[in-house]
């Protein structure tokens, strides 16, 4: 006969253990099959065998029939950053531009049906934005776009694209233009022009410098010459006056006795002409009939 033994502790232990393991497994399996967790950065659409049931927009733990599936999508704003496009302006100039916009999913079910995936969404956005940019650039001149109209263009492109993509479950924030540049082929022309402008400015500076310098030096030289010339003229006047005064002094003195003056003057002249140092080889011819004086004076 089989014992109806009470279970031993070991057997209890086994049973408890097995039960515990079964519990853990059940919890995990149940969680996987019967629940879905939607995280804070996600939104989801619930499907039953391919048929959409509902959107789940609030994060948390949800009960779910095992044959339902959940497709999760990023809830946050993602970045659409375009590749550079070449676009032609109204005045036939080519610009290279790129743009970006943060975008996000609004209605998950709509999005999944209309767009399917994030990469498809990027393509849709690109098409929508690019076509509007081409139109916006094509109706404006180059300088207009670069200087004034950026915000205008941004606004019109944003409005248009936003409206166009809304039905697909895509919500776009503002489309922003990042680069507006010249194509590489045109850049060297710009560089040349920039260099030429600078060279001309440099040239102007140098010319101005020379002109100013010349003005300063020639003015100074001229003023100096005038000073000296005037001084010389004044000096001549002074000397002339002195000569005249001296002559006056002589005249008034010698006129007191002109005969005596003649004598003295004659003697002086003779002495000067034949003076003591005139050279010992000098021979004097004297006429006995006349005074030495007269002879000398001849």
């Amino acid at each position: 006969m089989s014992d109806n033994r009470t279970k031993t502790p070991a057997e209890w232990g086994k049973k408890i253990s097995v039960g515990f393991i079964a519990l853990v497994v059940t919890v995990f399996v149940g969680k996987t099959l019967f629940t879905a967790t939607i995280d804070e950065n996600e939104k989801a659409a619930e499907f039953s065998l391919g048929r959409p049931i509902r959107n789940i927009e609030k994060p948390g733990l949800y009960f779910m029939q095992p044959w339902h599936s959940v497709t999760r999508l990023e809830k946050r704003y993602m970045l659409y950053d375009s590749d550079p496009h070449q676009i032609i302006t109204a005045d036939k100039k080519t610009l290279v531009t790129d743009d970006f916009t943060p975008w996000r999913v609004t209605d998950p079910t709509v999005f999944i049906k209309a767009v399917g995936s994030e990469s498809s969404a990027l393509t849709r956005i690109d098409d929508s934005v690019y076509s509007r940019l081409v139109a916006a650039f094509g109706s404006r001149d180059f300088s207009d776009i670069v200087v004034k109209s950026r915000e205008e263009i941004i606004n019109s492109v944003t409005e248009g694209s936003r409206a166009a993509l809304k039905p697909s479950g895509i919500e776009m924030a503002t489309v922003l233009i990042n680069r507006i540049e010249m194509p590489d082929e045109n850049k060297s022309a710009t560089y040349n022009r920039m260099s030429a402008e600078r060279n001309q400015t440099a040239q102007t500076y140098r010319s101005e410098g020379n002109e100013l310098a010349l003005g300063i030096t020639s003015t100074a030289d001229r003023d100096a010459a005038i000073l000296v010339a005037n001084a010389k003229r004044d000096a001549e006047i002074v000397k002339g006056k002195a000569d005249a005064e001296a002559a006056q002094i002589y005249a008034s003195a010698y006129s007191k006795n002109p005969e005596f003056y003649a004598l003295v003057r004659g003697l002086e002249a003779a002495e000067k002409a034949f003076g003591s140092d005139s050279g010992t080889n000098l021979r004097l011819f004297l006429n006995g009939d006349e005074s030495v004086l007269k002879s000398l004076l001849k």
Partner: protein, 329 residues
């Protein structure tokens, strides 16, 4: 019912499999329980740095934001995500700081970011820095997927818009401060359209350069301006020298003339004084004075000379020594 002797199981030779059968479930259970317990233990607390804030999600759903310190949470179901909310971060646009050595950091240039078109259709290389905080932990984590990248692109767009409104010269010189102020305003507007937790602190222009190929021409303008200044300076120097020299000359000329004048008059006065002294003597005794003068002069003149005398009409050599001998003709 046959109550035979029960087979003694414990005495069977293959004891090994029975260990697993006996203890396997219990071992597994213990291991699993221990694992769960440890996970629960370590998953029930966390700490947040002084500079951080953390968002807590329960079953994936956000429940609260907590500040710095040591906190408890539910294990397994609560998740923590931290963000630094006080440190000021630095976003470099147009360049990257490579290595910060003790003396000087080196920079690498990123032309795709820094090349910008100016309003006068020139090209400028613009390097700038955006300083910001990720001040709201929830928004920084859950509004935009890559908030730093969004901020970077917005900053570029803002600066390009501002540069597009300025001329190259303005951007490079006088317009720098205005440009960075305006760029900051524009960037703030862009940030406000998305509200993703970024707090803008400042926008600072680091450098505005012409493109490499044009750099030499630009530098030449600076040289030219300096040359102009120095040319003018040299001219001034010359002028400052010439005029004083001239004045020196003028003074000399003047002094020479005055000296001449004085000498001339003094000589005249001296001569006249001498004459008048002689005149007095002459007027007192005319013939004697005249004769004396004649002799004195003769002495001086004839001294040391060879003299040849033509006797003339008579032998009276005394005529020689008269001033005005009666004429022999």
């Amino acid at each position: 019912m046959e109550t035979g002797v029960a087979e003694s199981l414990p005495n069977q030779p293959n004891a090994q499999p029975n260990v697993w059968k006996e203890y396997g479930s219990r071992i597994a259970a213990v291991v699993i329980a221990a694992t769960l317990l440890l996970s629960a233990l370590f998953g029930s607390f966390y700490s947040v740095d002084k500079t951080e804030e953390a968002t807590i999600r329960r079953f994936g759903a956000y429940i609260e934001t907590v500040g710095s310190g040591f906190h408890l949470k539910l294990p397994f179901v609560d998740a923590v995500r931290k963000t630094d909310v006080t440190t000021i971060h630095r976003l470099e646009i147009g360049f990257r700081t490579e290595v910060i050595t003790k003396s000087e950091p080196t920079y690498k240039s990123i032309p795709e970011e820094s090349e910008m078109l100016t309003g006068d259709e020139n090209i400028a290389l613009v390097d700038f820095v955006v300083q910001y905080r990720s001040a709201d932990a929830y928004k920084w984590q859950y509004v935009a997927k890559d908030p730093e990248k969004v901020l970077g692109l917005m900053a570029q767009a803002a600066m390009r818009l501002v540069v597009g409104r300025s001329s190259f010269d303005q951007m490079a010189t006088t317009g720098k401060v205005a440009a960075q102020t305006e760029a900051m305003q524009v960037l703030q507007r862009y940030i406000d359209t998305l509200d993703f937790g970024a707090q803008l602190v400042s926008v600072q222009l680091q450098d505005v350069q012409p493109p490499q190929k044009v750099l030499a021409a630009f530098k030449d303008v600076v040289n030219a301006r300096e040359e102009k200044d120095s040319t003018v300076q040299i001219a001034h120097k010359h002028a400052n020298q010439v005029l004083p020299d001239a004045r020196g000359q003028v003074a000399r000329i003047k002094n020479d003339a005055e000296a001449y004048a004085q000498a001339r008059i003094a000589a005249a006065e001296g001569d006249v004084a001498k004459f008048e002294a002689l005149l007095v003597k002459y007027e007192q005794a005319p013939e004697v004075t005249a004769q004396r003068l004649l002799f004195e002069t003769q002495e001086r003149v004839l001294h040391g000379k060879n003299v040849i005398v033509d006797p003339g009409s008579g032998n009276n050599l005394l005529k020689l020594f008269q001033i005005n001998p009666p004429s022999s003709n």
